[in-house]
Amino acid sequence: MSTLHVLSHSPFGDDRLTSCLRVIGADDALLLCGDAVYALQPGTAPFTTLQARGLKLYALDEDARARAIAIADWAEAVDYPAFVELSVHHDKVNSWL
């Protein structure tokens, strides 16, 4: 069983990303949307952590662009249709509300 974890909160001053990375499984993927894309701000702790983890990572393109966040080449930019595709592709979706 694979889970798509979806984060939408900024990783700065919030535990969601840390906790998610603690419990995410080998077959799972992580999608960043909303303020969670700030995790891809270069030179930050979340950026370094994500880069080092090498998990399946997606970021919602429009949310990144709106925030002037460049999506690193070790992550994959997705649009909403691709987001839906990913949701269907995984056995379940866990949105960290």
């Binding site: 889970t3 535990d15 906790s19 419990v23 995410i24 499984g25 379940k92 866990n94 949105s95 509300l97």
Partner: protein, 120 residues
């Protein structure tokens, strides 16, 4: 067979509606006989601190409500051991005695085992 549902409750008890909402989902699911589990993660473990006094805030007593979970048929209760330790709580003195403390790896397996997961 109804789909199994895991609720991950990670909000502290008195800061906002998150903890209450998570519990309401679980109680409603239990009342309808859904296979349902509840995991306390991050600040959610503060919901299980002993000797909380809801009257001080004139709010509904979440701690007392949590004790009703077994009556609602919700027996699958878990806490994140690391969250408990980080927050200086004693895992043997939590208000839900039946809640099992899980490691990160066990939580990964737990999430995998349920059909659906809601994190609040």
């Amino acid at each position: 067979m109804a789909k199994s549902l895991l609720i991950i409750s990670r909000q502290s008890p008195w800061s906002g509606p998150g903890a209450r909402e998570a519990l309401d989902i679980v109680l409603a699911g239990g009342a309808f006989d859904l296979p349902i589990g509840l995991l306390f993660l991050d600040d959610g473990v503060f919901q299980l601190a002993a000797k909380q006094d809801a009257k001080a805030l004139q709010q509904k007593d979440l701690s007392a409500n949590l004790q009703a979970l077994p009556m609602f048929g919700v027996e699958e209760l878990f806490v994140c051991a690391e969250s408990v330790a980080q927050r200086g709580l004693d895992s043997n003195a939590l208000s839900l005695e039946d809640a099992r403390a899980l490691s990160a790896q066990e939580i990964t397996a737990l999430i995998d085992r349920y059909d659906q997961v809601i994190t609040l």
